[in-house]
Symmetry: C2
Subunit: 363 residues, 2 copies
């Protein structure tokens, strides 16, 4: 059993917002003295926190999972702390009747709306999942372990039975979820077709995706072309795809659905095109395909035990280098102990303005 | 056991086509002497044959279920006989080792592509379902029993569990399937919202649908309006709809899907708008709705025993006047014994040109 350790109090800096709106308009930052951890609590130091589209939607007020607003940090208005994902190090233990956590352990939040955009914070042990000591796990891997790898894993497992040699197709093929899905598929002997947008660096992206394990990489234009059904038929030796993963919508969803086998399933988990999911009626009526959705936040809430187990499995895959994290950019936060509120705010704001998936990492 | 009865041979007239194309271009008609029924066969006289969109699509070559082309009726080219649905009277029995059928029985085809557009024809007993003697069943009811009532019945039963007091929503609300679905729902204590197009006779259609049992009848414009979610919430006392039946597609499918409860299902069985089924990604991701399809031809093929039983149940509902057939127009074929090929052809062609669901009925 660990006992509370007396530590010097920390100056914490946290990003907040009091009204929904455009992140760069509504975000503020406050400094405050972090109290000692209470009973069943620990004090956490930020290791890394990603900036996900879901975080930005949450600040805009359009995300289905809402944060808690309350008067804290000495603010006169009720504020919420953004950031649903991230990894922290345990730096102090409050009085607790369990030895679940040790100093130096890395932890991630158990639920959404944890408020990860803070340099230090106190949290209840029961709200955390321990990754143990890093042991080769990188800050970027740990910070992003609970969304993209889980989404990729569950979508390949929970909708159709993919056996060795079976095929799936995925659009938005250059995204984090897709890059993880083709790697997991490769580990399991499942074949993949990744559909990407031609952003001018086609050769490079194709090479990267093939190196990760993608069997075929095609552009949205090729997917929409007249020979694609013949090609997919040939690649899959007439089996077509059992599963399609859709994060784009619009015509792209119709075009990947057309590559499904009879009774195949298309799973939507994003809407990058901001257009509805379109599927020709004939695929429903004559091919009996099924169109469904997946939301990792809901899955974690409904399956807390499986969630914790899966986090440990994915962490092990990262440590054993069976799974690679790519397409993630990091932004360094120097000297977390001494950072000022205006510095933290401008770091987050400038990272939000950048393209791609950015993760704030403590040096 | 019934024995073969010797009858005078019949002059039969049948509609044929040798190439796929526009019905009014490719249809022909031939007269021929019908031979005596062979072993296990019966001779059938037409009572009534509908002209369904599926029949026209089959002639155009776009229907998934293809007819058989063969050299028969003395034609030099291989021909097919259109007509997937219809009711016949048994007028002669061939040698057979069963007493399944008697003279005067009404029968319907067991499978699609039977070729019902013929005044007389021989058929195998094993390809027929007997409705017994009419006993109050009308030619229109019997001729259309195997598609619309079955589709309505199965779609209400097979996708979600609808209990008394549960709600469903259906677009194309003035169609045959929808009129049957609201009646079946009413019988089972299930509540309905029918969405119709405003074709100028709104008051009349609303009255008809309410009389059949529809709880609410709204226009596509009302469905697309800003207050509809509040209205549906109020009507259903917050339950929203468990099921949506879609035969329209495009925006209408998105709009009925928006009235679904969490984990609700939208079933597509037609595409009147010729636009893809559109559903906002958020309904898949955050409400976990499911989008599927239904094809009655496939269901019948996969469930032959259930199909025969259901036909008898629906026939009983018609005889007991629990179920009404509406929105079907009949076209009389006078003197089926003496009709000429040019007369039959012009009757079918003129009926195809008319709007609505037409059924050729023998007087």
């Amino acid at each position: 059993m660990q006992h509370s350790s007396v530590i010097s109090s920390h100056k914490a800096v946290t990003i907040t917002f009091s009204n929904y709106g455009l992140p760069n308009k509504v975000l503020q930052a406050v400094e405050y003295e972090l109290p000692q951890p209470g009973l069943g609590e620990v004090t956490l130091k930020l290791i890394a926190a990603p900036i996900n589209p879901a975080d930005l939607n949450q600040i805009e007020g359009t995300f289905a999972s809402k944060p808690e607003f309350s008067k804290r940090f000495g603010c006169s208005e009720a504020v919420a702390v953004p950031g649903n994902e991230g990894v922290f190090e345990v730096i102090a233990l409050g009085k607790a009747d369990s030895n679940e956590l040790s100093l130096g352990d890395w932890v991630i939040p158990k639920t959404a709306s944890f408020g990860t955009w803070a340099t230090f914070k106190n949290a209840k042990v029961c709200d955390l999942i321990s990754l143990g000591k890093p042991n080769g796990l990188t800050p970027l891997q740990a910070a992003t372990i609970a969304v993209n790898p889980l989404a990729a894993y569950r979508m390949l497992k929970d909708f159709v039975e993919l056996e060795r040699g079976d095929w799936f197709i995925v659009n938005g093929g250059n995204s984090g979820v897709c890059r993880l899905s083709v790697q997991l598929a490769k580990l399991w002997g499942v074949k993949s077709i990744s559909v990407i947008r031609d952003d001018g660096n086609l050769g490079e992206v194709k090479q990267e995706l093939h190196a990760l394990g993608a069997d075929h990489v095609i552009t949205e234009e090729q997917l929409a072309g007249s020979s694609i059904e013949r090609d997919v038929n040939e690649w899959t030796q007439g089996k077509m795809c059992k599963l399609a993963l859709n994060s784009v919508g619009g015509k792209s969803s119709a075009n990947i659905a057309c590559q499904l086998a009879d009774k195949g399933t298309i799973v939507t988990y994003g809407d990058m095109s901001k257009k509805p999911v379109e599927i020709p009626a004939s695929l429903y009526i004559y091919k009996d395909i099924v169109s469904r959705g997946f939301w990792v936040t809901k899955w974690k809430k409904d399956n807390p035990k499986d969630f914790e187990q899966l986090i440990q499995s994915v962490a092990a895959m990262f440590r054993e280098k069976k799974l690679k994290l790519t397409a993630v950019a990091s932004v360094d936060l120097l000297d977390v102990e001494k950072v000022r509120s205006d510095e933290l705010l401008s770091l987050f704001k400038s990272s939000i303005a950048k393209k791609g998936k950015n993760v704030i990492v403590v040096k």
